[in-house]
């Protein structure tokens, strides 16, 4: 079987064993780092962003159970519909905020919502990420 994927853009993501990109969240006048995380079922952002997003009460979101891959961290996340801008393209995705997790927790871009709107491929040997918007 041959599967041929084509992409519109590529990005050198640097010499690390993780892939992160800068994103703008809502209309905030700065950008933040977000990890491309195919292992995350849903996007999850640092709760430190909540005040700037004018989300005063995180529990107004849709409660979902969340846990890390090894069950070391589990709890309740609250889904909010958040606008993000990635490489000039804006999209709205569900983002979970976990009030019990410490500030500084990496922002994760996960499968639900985000990967449904982007086609992404990796060549980790060359540290290249290829992407298109669907």
């Amino acid at each position: 079987m041959t599967a041929l994927l084509t992409f519109d853009e590529e990005l050198d993501y640097g010499d690390r064993h993780r892939i992160s990109i800068p994103i703008r969240v809502e209309n905030l006048p700065y950008q933040v780092e977000a990890l491309i995380d195919t292992g995350a079922g849903v996007s999850c952002f640092d709760r430190a962003l909540l005040p700037d997003l004018a989300i005063g009460e995180v529990t107004t979101g849709i409660a979902i159970p969340v846990r890390s891959a090894n069950d070391a961290v589990a709890g309740t996340g609250y889904l909010h519909s958040i606008r993000i801008e990635i490489f000039g393209r804006d999209m709205t995705i569900p983002v979970a905020f976990c009030p019990d997790w410490p500030e500084g927790t990496p922002n994760l871009l996960g499968m639900r919502g985000f990967f449904e709107q982007m086609l992404i491929g990796f060549d980790h040997q060359q540290r290249r990420m290829y992407y298109s918007f669907t």
Partner: protein
């Protein structure tokens, strides 16, 4: 339909402003209209906000941070705002940094948390 219009808190540091332009850095005003339209999850807004001229903005800052330059050693455990390859503001937490950025009219750039173990190779698991 659920009304998801955001309401800014009284102490929101950028309250009262409608747009920002950072001279010499980003000629395009950033619209920070506070009313967030209710867009169904998974749908792309047909009337997007004003975007940056450079869609790759932030990439230089991120790659610089990821390269773990020696300058970062002084900021372990702190929050930083980076423009180009320079740290333009830092704070003990996001709230403090946000206040400093607002007071200094620092707009744009990349905001990030510097890990405590900045000198070590880290592997993020799951």
């Amino acid at each position: 339909m659920t009304d998801s219009t955001a309401v800014l808190a009284a102490d929101f540091p950028y309250a009262g402003d409608t747009s920002y332009t950072l001279p010499g850095y980003d000629p395009l005003p950033i619209n920070i209209t506070i009313n967030v339209p209710n867009i169904p999850i998974g749908m792309t807004d047909q009337h997007p906000w004003l975007r940056r001229i450079n869609p790759r903005e932030g990439v230089e800052e991120l790659l610089w941070l990821e390269s773990r330059p020696p300058e970062l050693a002084a900021y372990q455990g702190r929050w930083v705002a980076v423009m180009g390859q320079h740290i333009v503001a830092d704070g003990a937490n996001m709230s403090e940094l946000r206040t400093l950025m607002a007071e200094g009219s620092i707009m744009g750039g990349l905001v990030a948390h510097v890990p405590e173990d900045i000198g070590q190779t880290e592997y993020l698991i799951g």
